[in-house]
C-alpha cells in the first residue's frame, strides 16, 4: 500500500483513504479515523475487529483473558477489567462481580433477588448476577450518588 503524507501550512487537515476492496486493514484504518475514542479493538477468530464502546453489552475476564461481548460478536481484548474501568470515565460501565463488567445503558431489565443480589437482563437476553458485594454500589450508581 502506498502511503502519501503531505504537510500543509494552512487549511483543514484531511485524510483520504483510497481502496479497491474494504479489507479488514482498511476497515481498521477507517475505524481509527472515524472516532478513535469510542472504539474498542479486539480479536475474533476471523481477525481484528472493532466495536463501538456503546455497543458493548458486557466484559468478562476468563483465565486472565478479557472478552468483550456485543449483541453479535465476542472479541478478545487487551488489558484487564481494572484497566478498562480506568479508561471508561462516563459511568456507563459497572463492575458487577470479580470477573465481569456490564454496560448499564445496555441493561434491559433488573430483578431483585434474595440475599440483596440483582439479576440484570442484558439486551442480548443474557442474565448477569450483580453480587451482594457490588449491589449496594450499583444502587448508588442508578441513583446518581457515585
Amino acid at each position: 500500500m502506498k502511503i502519501d503524507i503531505q504537510k500543509i501550512t494552512d487549511g483543514e487537515e484531511s485524510v483520504v483513504v483510497r481502496y479497491i476492496e474494504r479489507t479488514p486493514m482498511i476497515n481498521r484504518i477507517i475505524g481509527i479515523l472515524e472516532n478513535p475514542e469510542n472504539k474498542l479493538w479486539g480479536k475474533t477468530e476471523s481477525g481484528s475487529v472493532c466495536a463501538d464502546i456503546a455497543d458493548l453489552l458486557y466484559l468478562e475476564s476468563v483465565d486472565d483473558k478479557l472478552f468483550a461481548y456485543t449483541g453479535d460478536k465476542v472479541m478478545r481484548i487487551e488489558g484487564t477489567l481494572n484497566s478498562f474501568m480506568m479508561d471508561m470515565d462516563d459511568g456507563s460501565f459497572f463492575r458487577c462481580s470479580k470477573s465481569m463488567v456490564i454496560n448499564v445503558n445496555r441493561v434491559k431489565a433488573l430483578r431483585s433477588l434474595s440475599s440483596n443480589r440483582i439479576d440484570a437482563t442484558m439486551e442480548g437476553g443474557e442474565h448477569i448476577i450483580i453480587s451482594r458485594r457490588y449491589a449496594s454500589d450499583f444502587r448508588r450508581l442508578l441513583k446518581g450518588e457515585r
Partner: protein, 154 residues
C-alpha cells in the same frame, strides 16, 4: 489498593448476623402469640418465663440452621422442594422442643396445630419477602430508565 466501598468479611458477617437476629425476633413474636392464645384458651393469663426463654433460644438456634444450612428458605426467590424441605425440618425442630419443653402440655393435637401455624408463618414470611422484592424490582427499573435517559442526553 484496597477499595473502601467494598464490604469487608466482617461487614458481611455482621449483615448475616443482623439477618438472623431479625428472623429470631420475628419468629419469636409469632410463636409467642400462638403460645399466649393457647394459655388464654386454657384460662391461664400469664406466660412462663422458662418457656419464653427456651423459645427465644430455639428461634436463634433455628435461625442459624436456616441461614447456614437450609438455604435461607424463607427469603428464597421461589418455593421449591428444597425450600419446603427446609420449612418441614425447622417446623419439626420447633415441635420437638415444644413437646419436650412442655409448652402445650404434651397435647398431640395442639402440637399439630402449632406445626401448621409454623408452616403458615413461614409461607407468609416467604410471600412478604417476595412482595418486597417485587416492589424493589419496580423501583430499580424506574431508576435504571432514568439513568439511561440521563446518559443518552449526555
Amino acid at each position: 489498593m484496597k477499595d473502601d466501598k467494598k464490604l469487608t468479611l466482617w461487614e458481611r458477617y455482621l449483615t448475616q448476623e443482623i439477618g438472623i437476629e431479625f428472623k429470631a425476633c420475628l419468629y419469636f413474636f409469632a410463636f409467642l402469640f400462638f403460645y399466649c392464645c393457647y394459655r388464654m384458651l386454657n384460662g391461664i393469663f400469664d406466660a412462663s418465663i422458662l418457656h419464653m426463654t427456651v423459645l427465644i433460644f430455639t428461634c436463634y438456634f433455628i435461625g442459624y440452621i436456616q441461614v447456614y444450612l437450609l438455604w435461607n428458605f424463607d427469603e428464597a426467590d421461589s418455593l421449591g422442594v428444597r425450600e419446603i424441605f427446609g420449612m418441614v425440618i425447622c417446623t419439626a425442630l420447633y415441635c420437638i422442643v415444644s413437646w419436650f419443653g412442655n409448652w402445650f402440655d404434651k397435647r398431640i393435637v395442639v402440637t399439630l396445630v402449632f406445626a401448621a401455624y409454623i408452616l403458615l408463618t413461614y409461607f407468609c414470611v416467604f410471600l412478604i419477602y417476595r412482595s418486597k422484592r417485587r416492589i424493589d424490582d419496580k423501583k430499580l427499573n424506574e431508576e435504571l430508565r432514568l439513568f439511561q435517559t440521563n446518559h443518552q442526553k449526555k
